[in-house]
Symmetry: C2
Subunit: 362 residues, 2 copies
């Protein structure tokens, strides 16, 4: 089956608001074997909407329309639906429930088979109602699960999965990739991708689950990531159960004064070094009393790099005082991208450490 | 003039990648008085592209096409352009420079006046080349400037601006709104919006400029914001000039142990209180030796609220040890939204403090 999406309303078209619906809906359809044909963003005109629906109904079995669906009978969508239903070649089916708002969805079916579903433009409502529609469409489609991957780009995931890749939907988000995978091949996909396939819906939740299961507390010592790891960790509700806090030691003075990194380590090896990362880890664990920690020191750029330690270089320490991993990495993103890559890699290194050891709360 | 955008390529259409071009291009055109007619996202087919261009060329004076522009003559766009140019009613103009990549842009003009510009799909390249095109279009349009606003929603900005609002483009980003304003009314807009109109391109840069000009250093003490303020501050290259670091005191233990918040303040007034915010500020300034700081303590939610201190409540302290502002706010976003609102409001409070006082480095 082919499907298209129509986004109505002037907010997206005039650039007042960023679209938040195309990607999740298109990715979901692609992963279900529904072939995306076209997306159109149009203004607030009932005539234009009627014309666009008719245009796309020729080649598509499913059309999702979002926006223009208010509570009054004279809004754009209701007027367009009235015109379409009155023309004799389409019928209205029961409305679609809106579990999070008041405007209900409209289900119009052309006699030639095309189904047109009208949802509100509010992303939260559209997502919830698309979920209801998806469950219904799912009953005739294979069951799928989400497998989130870290540390491999989409092309590399596709290469490793080989023939299996065609059955998967790819949803990249914040340096992780959510794969939508038919349930029947989930174990194959996990086996092929090994440690890159995460247990939970994302890296942060995977680390959280490990820490909570083992009753461990966490602290971070952050130089180049500037608080981003702590920010990511605390995006999760319930993180106060295991997250004690962080020292963002952006200046060397704070590394020395607060984290007690010996001055000679910095002067001998540099602030961006294996030794400084390890000393920062020890310092934050001593200071906070947390069970495990991560520490980062690197060069996010665009300035501050050298031949020996170019922009994108980072040292990360993860684990306990007495027993931890320290590794260096090199990324080639811009400043913001490098910070995010450093932070996510630190969480991934902590996850690997927790998998490889069996430490628990004492 | 009317304009439309065509996004080609299967990545956006199948949901593999989120579109990053529609909003900035549409917003720019709207702010220049160019009326956005339609956006279409189509797959990688030269025939489809030709049909879509011809379809939209009927009503539009300008069509921007992105994607499908590789270096080989057999890619989607080159094949489509060849077909269009060969049909006798359109001519090729000189190519458009690509300052950040190798694929050059194509400029095709129909005899009936419609101009079709083909840009690469890589957002960085498309943005740079759209900038060149924008400068050229600008010569016939009124000169504009960007005025970034914090602390007012779009509807409230529009209400305050009254008739002037129609001349402005609105670009909301991360709880700030960039207004694209004709240069001739910039001073009126700034006067009406008062302290909400920022000096620099965003709140972060506005605070940075004030700190640098006065030679002041900054530290943050963050509970509910979980490191987000430090993360925002360090997104800016050059922040190491003034940013010393942060203590993310997520647990009360860290507030007491590292920031030296007296235990009786927490037990008497609660961790989320005027007194704790002020004590955290004093603590981080003592610990780091920074000139000024901000401290946040609040409830991001969804759990942890009470009748007296509901979810979304935050106390923020900003300034110096001897002289600072402490204010409470209440937001109604979700956890992530509340964290961002807390962090941005803290920076806004610091900016107000710096404007209201004349402190400089001693």
């Amino acid at each position: 089956m082919k499907a298209s999406i129509i986004i109505t309303g002037s907010e997206i078209l005039t650039g007042l608001r960023q679209d938040a619906l195309i990607q999740p809906m298109a990715s979901w359809m692609t992963s279900r074997g529904i072939s995306m044909d076209e997306v159109r963003v149009i203004g607030d005109s009932p005539e234009r909407l009627v014309k666009t629906v008719r245009d796309l109904a020729q080649a598509n079995g499913l059309i999702i329309v979002t926006g223009g669906l208010g509570l009054t009978p004279d809004d754009t969508t209701h007027r367009a639906v009235e015109t379409l239903a009155a023309s004799g070649d389409a019928r209205l089916y029961p409305e679609i429930d809106n579990p999070v708002g008041s405007a209900r969805g409209i289900d119009l079916r052309f006699d030639h088979g095309t189904r047109v579903v009208f949802l509100p433009g509010v992303p939260r409502e559209a997502h919830a109602m698309f979920g209801i529609l998806a469950r219904e469409l799912n009953e005739s489609a294979p069951k799928t699960v989400e497998v989130t991957v870290f540390g491999l780009r989409e092309v590399e995931i596709a290469r490793r999965l080989g023939d299996l890749a065609a059955a998967c939907g790819f949803l990249p988000r914040d340096m992780e990739v959510a794969l939508i995978v038919p349930k029947t091949i989930e174990q194959d996909v996990r086996r092929i991708l090994g440690p890159h396939a995460l247990e939970q819906e994302n890296l942060n939740a995977s680390v959280a689950a490990l820490l909570k299961r083992r009753g461990l507390t966490l602290a971070t010592a952050e130089s180049c990531t500037g608080g981003l790891i702590a920010h990511i960790v605390t995006q999760l509700s319930g993180s106060s159960e295991y997250f004690m806090g962080s020292v963002v030691s952006y200046s060397n003075e704070i590394k020395i004064r607060v984290l007690k990194v010996p001055e000679e380590i910095i002067s001998r090896h540099g602030a961006v070094s294996h030794q400084t990362a390890a000393a920062m880890l020890k310092g934050v664990l001593d200071l906070t009393g947390a069970d495990v920690g991560v520490a980062t020191t690197g060069i996010a750029g665009p300035t501050g790099g050298s031949d020996e330690k170019p922009v994108g270089t980072v040292w990360i320490a993860a684990g306990r005082k007495e027993d931890h991993a320290v590794k260096d990495f090199r990324f080639r993103f811009d400043r913001q991208g490098n910070k995010m890559a450093f932070a996510k890699t630190a969480l991934f290194l902590l996850r690997t450490y927790l998998h490889d050891t069996d430490i628990r709360s004492h």
